[in-house]
């Protein structure tokens, strides 16, 4: 036994909030906190990540240990070897920054960056609704649409880290030569816009739209039906490509049971092959738990 114990740290960095967790070498969760993401982006957010790790590290002093592995999930594409981040519209200035190098320089420890939805997939595989699966996907629906993939029992992030970047997934009827894409149909803004086009007023968020639909607003119900139909098409597309055991739905819109029911109905109209879908069991903590799990793996691999 060494005199100081090793700890690990997982962070889920979002456009509006940052969630951080401390775990022991077995990956067990010891502590977590959430704070708003620094809206100034760039170096300010990088410094915020450093401060978050230090804050968690301070908690280990009483335990005579230190943080030896850090995994950060980011809402963008992470290149596999260089760890450089791209396609990250919600955090300004992160594309121009070598975040991994900055963090490992400041913290003096191992850093891994991953796409946040990939980590959510990992979290569900380790602790949630995809335990024991060899082939599964985590479909995140909120402001945008993203996908994490588990193939042959392992997380797969693509040749350049861009697997599951399905905002541009072609959708729907294409005989007229028009190509509509998934995010343009199911993103929260697209859903609200569809309600307005149908004559609905006084709604600015999807959350309000759900409330309207639940209160019997037929237009709101039809708008959600339409969003669900596009999600169902994406899931059928996914299933035809990958033959998954389970599709886990997450994200602020994806976890709503009202939508899930509509998606299941729409899938039934599209295919007679059953597709198992279900809501994220870890909810909005899937990405954080996945990050901590990955950090635990990195810690054990590093000390082995």
């Amino acid at each position: 036994m060494s005199s100081s114990e090793a700890f690990c740290c997982g962070i889920d960095l979002g456009g509006t909030k940052l969630a951080a967790a401390l775990g022991d070498s077995s990956g067990a969760l010891l502590h977590e906190f959430v704070e708003p993401t620094d809206p100034r982006g760039g170096l300010h957010v990088a410094e915020q990540l450093v401060a978050a790790v230090r804050r968690l590290g301070a908690m280990t002093e009483g335990l005579r240990g230190e943080v030896s592995a850090v995994v950060v999930g980011v809402p963008g594409v992470v290149a596999p070897r260089s760890q450089r981040i791209s396609q990250i519209p919600h955090i300004r200035g992160f594309e121009d920054l070598d975040v991994a190098a900055f963090l490992s320089d400041r913290l003096g420890t191992r850093i891994e960056l991953h796409n946040d939805v990939n980590l959510a997939m990992l979290g569900e595989h380790a602790l949630g609704g995809a335990v024991g699966c060899q082939h599964a996907a985590f479909l995140s629906l909120g402001t945008g649409a993203g996908l994490g993939l588990l193939l042959n029992g392992r997380l797969f992030s693509g040749a350049t880290g861009a697997a599951g970047e399905i905002a541009d997934l072609p959708q729907g009827r294409l005989s007229d030569g028009m190509t509509v894409t998934l995010e343009a149909e199911v993103g929260s803004q697209a859903t609200v816009d569809r309600y307005r086009r149908a004559g609905g007023t006084g709604v600015s968020t999807v959350r309000e739209l759900f409330t309207r639909a639940n209160d019997g607003d037929a237009v709101a119900g039809r708008v959600l039906d339409e969003t669900a139909r596009h999600v169902a098409q994406a899931i059928v597309a996914l299933q035809s490509i990958l033959d998954l055991e389970r599709v886990v739905l997450g994200g602020s819109i994806g976890v709503r049971p009202e939508l899930l029911l509509r998606i299941e109905r729409a899938i039934g109209a599209l295919t007679h092959r059953p597709i198992r879908i279900g809501p994220s069991e870890l909810g909005d903590r899937a990405g954080l738990r996945g990050a901590l799990w990955a950090a635990g793996l990195a810690l054990r691999a590093g000390s082995a």
Partner: protein, 401 residues
Amino acid sequence: MAIPVANVTRQLSSRTVFDALLHRSPISRAALAKVTGLSKQTTSEVIDTFVRQGLVRPAGRTRGNVGRTAVLYELSPDGGHALGIDLGARRLTVALADLAGRVLAERSEPTDPRGGAWVLDQIAYLAERLARENNTHPSRIRSIVLGTPGVVNPRNGTIELAPNISDLGHLNVVSLLTEKLGSAVVLENDINLALLGEIWHGCAQHVANIAYLSLGSGVGLGLYINGHLVRGENGAAGEIGYLPIGGDPLMAESREQGCLEYQVGAAGVLRRYRAAGGTVASTALEVFEQAAAGEPSAVQVVGQTAHLIGLAASAVVAVLDPQILVLGGSLGARPELAARVAAVLGSLAPRPVEVRTSTLGSRAGVVGALSVALRRLHEEFFGGSDLATALPLRLPPPRAA
């Protein structure tokens, strides 16, 4: 579950020596010891065992400068044979290779249109003839892989969703063929095998992440991810005929045949050609040939087809981010397609992806079947399948007989 350490060590030595023989024959004992890092004694023990088993034979002597010459060894051509079979709706192709991976013979003929048991008889007859023509007793064929359209059920060896060959789905193809051929038959989806063929001998060598999009009688996808095939939960990964692209996914035809397949499968190409007023071509391939000759209806239909394949490719790239996308199959490998598919991808995909056209063409499936059959033969003879992950055997580089 634990394997005795002595066994593991012996298996590792066997595999290491075999790998060197596969890639460096003919080779002396001293050179084998040098390249494997094993002791001369261990190397000699392994070689002696292989020679006793008839898997390795002497192949002349080194031409020495000074001093004694040494015996050279190579894999014995009679050590055992591998058979690859590609069973298509129209054509049946069979290829035979020796232990060292030399392709000895390849034969192709029209698939028996009566389907079912007739096709299985045809396969057995062709395999036997190929063996005898190469002075090999059929019993020397020790490893057989059959590629077939449709979804191979990984649990019971039956074929599902194989609408293009009649009555095949009712039969237990694995046990019937194993009985006829006298050696275990392994079934694999034909498109997966075509992909493995391109990886071994074709346009996709040394690439770890590949999407192989095949267009022929039907449309399908093979996926190779981090060095492994992706078959999915029920063996149905890559059945992209069911992509909701190209038409109304709620139509009965879309639900039954698949939305994309209904449009771009060979039958769909011909149907759309006739609907566009085309009268000259009577097969999908002829529609492509007419398009190349400038016939307006054919040009229109091939253009639409390329566009739809481009959209399907865009969906695959968005989901999987492969390093390369390979176009194959009797229609997919047509020169008309690649540039247009790349153009659609360029307009939709967030990043460029390299599009390659199959270099093996219609041979891809049988070459892939042979590569899997060889790998299984090597695993059987050179043991230690427990070690397959730790020390995978590499297939020999491409070479003809």
